[in-house]
Amino acid sequence: MSSLWLVARREIVTRGRTKAFVIGLVVSAVLVAALAFLPRIFAGPDSYTVGVTGSQSLQAALPQTAKDIEITVRQFPDEAAASKAVLAGDVDAALVADRKVLADGEVDRELGLLLENAHQAAQVQRQLADAGLDPAKVAQAMRVAPLEQVSVGTDTRYSGVRIGIASLLVMLLFFLIIYGSMYVAMGVVEEKGSRIVEILLTSIRPWQLLGGKIVGLGVLALVNLVVVIVAGLGAAAATGLAADLPPGMTGIVISTLFWFLLGYGFFAAMAAALGSLVSRQEDVGSVLTPMTMIMMVAYLVAYYAAFEPGGPVARILSLVPPFSSMVMPVRMAGGEVAAWEIALAAVLMLLATVGTLALGSRIYQRAVLRTGARVKLSEVVR
């Protein structure tokens, strides 16, 4: 076991300090963090400054009508001063003597509604008081509980965010698994082509060498995944987007890590087996074609599943390994998935990963010492 860790540590140390890895880590973290800022850039402002002349009642009513929106009220002595402030852009709009709203051009739609509501409430309250009703009773009567939203169909409140998170996951899983597996294959070929493998395999067992390589590169990919998740969630918290995230984010994160490990294990073992068939780096791309094809299909289905998590193709392929490793976490992020489906997919994928690891290391052992021409798969499987 200690030999496996030695191999894994070498992979982590030598690959982890390459420019390619560090740059990839920074770029992916920055990209995901930037994505968290996007809604803020496209959504309207969530704070306004309003100028007021004369009225006092509106000031009390405004914050009540708009709970999520911050409104700063500034007093002006007269209409002229207020209108100057509007033109200068110091305030978004100004309410003059409870009669009219001044704006530079058109009043912002959201702000207009807010002002109208607050104005209505303040006026009703004042007129009722003028009619001789007890102000305290009026205030109590005015307090109305807002309507509660209940969906009788699918809960679609978070569907936009869920689609966003799910499609982000697709890309993340796809790139991390494909890069991790590519590096496994390239490492195998590097050792085979230079015959280091002859020294290695007289020092340690094949499973220790292969296992160490897969574990080491897997740790790096996992580090990349965690960094991206932390960057994304951190940025979401910083921008206030976190409040809009659907419930169960922790569950989504944990299931992503779980499915990543299974998917990576499967594809890395496959990449190692295929990589061990060739002796030159130039041949890695072509020998990995079957693997990249499967990954592309998984990617496309997972992408489709991000937008339609309950669709028939997504439902079926989220159970079939190795597609399930990418489709299932996306379905889980995109909507509700029955527990039995998750359990079945997990068991099947686990079996497939263990099977591929066993078969892959068998092929690897038989092929990795046969340098020269490309080894035929049929010669080493049996």
């Binding site: 030695l6 070498r10 230079s194 280091i196 002859e198 020294i199 395999l201 020092s203 067992r205 340098t371």
Partner: protein
């Protein structure tokens, strides 16, 4: 003692090894020579367990070699293999650790080898920035770092400058003196003759000669007599035993039996004997003869 016993190996319908047998004793330096494609590398790869023989066995002190035995061997494969981007020191230490050394031991052994092989100045350089000769030294350090109990080196001297050859020869001789069997292959027969106690000559997958270098030279030299007689009576050679090759005053007799005293007698009568002696062939001559 390492015994290679009757190894056979075929690749498709091509026979690579056809009953290769020889042994290397503790403290013996064994030179393994043969033409390209004769089967040296195949034999060494089977010895190291990276290739499986069709039949035959490799024994150490009478029992088959195990993986654990081979872990304590030092091995240098035919095609040089190092991690190109890894630093010299890290690389040597890493292979020491893989062979089961603790990190402290591996570091100390690496330091020793860096000094020994004059690599100290390049210790923190990546391997791909080194000259071929220096890469070769690193390769040797990798094979030697764990104080191996047996050394198996495929063409360790190829590509080395004379100074590096001497440095390597010293290291090997030192390991040999401490009782380690050393087996190496080489095309440089003069080097093998100078360094090795024993040689094995392989040709087309068969051992054509093997044994102590001196024995081999004596054996091959037996019956070959070189005589130089100045101012000899013409025709004195007629009636001499064996096959006769004459070149001016020099006469080469092959297939001579006995101690040759009667030939010396005849020569002395015929003229002034300038040279009379058994012709011991060089290793190169034995090699040419053996593989012809």
């Amino acid at each position: 003692m390492i015994e290679i016993d009757d190894l056979h190996k075929r690749y498709g319908d091509k026979t690579a090894l056809d009953g290769v047998t020889f042994s290397v004793k503790p403290g013996e330096m064994f030179g393994f020579v043969g033409a390209n494609g004769a089967g040296k590398t195949t034999t060494m790869r089977i010895l190291m367990g990276v290739l499986t023989a069709d039949s035959g066995s490799v024994l150490r002190d009478g029992r088959p070699l195990t993986f654990e035995d081979r872990r304590r061997f030092g091995y240098m494969p035919e095609e040089r293999g190092l991690y190109q981007k890894m630093k010299v020191t890290e690389q040597i230490e890493y292979f020491g650790r893989l062979r089961g050394m603790g990190s402290g031991d591996a570091r100390r052994a690496t330091e020793g080898l860096l000094t020994r092989l004059s690599l100290t100045e390049r210790r923190n350089d990546a391997v791909d920035t080194l000259s071929l000769g220096n890469q070769q030294r690193v390769q040797l350090a990798v094979a030697l770092v764990h104080e191996p109990e047996v050394l198996v080196l495929d063409e360790p001297f190829s590509g080395l400058d004379p100074l590096a050859v001497d440095a390597l020869a010293d290291v090997l001789a030192e390991r040999c003196r401490s009782g380690v069997p050393v087996l190496f292959s080489s095309h440089q027969l003069d080097l093998v003759e100078r360094l090795c106690h024993s040689v094995g000559i392989i040709s087309a997958g068969r051992m054509v000669a093997s044994g102590a270098v001196e024995d081999l030279r004596d054996r091959e030299g037996r019956g070959r007599l070189r005589v130089i007689v100045r101012d000899a009576t013409p025709g004195w050679t007629s009636g001499l035993p064996g096959d006769i090759t004459e070149n001016g005053d020099e006469v080469l007799l092959t297939g001579v039996t006995g101690d040759g005293q009667e030939i010396l007698h005849l020569a002395a009568k015929a003229g002034r004997v300038e040279h009379f002696g058994w012709q011991r062939p060089t290793l190169t001559e034995i090699f040419r003869e053996a593989v012809a």
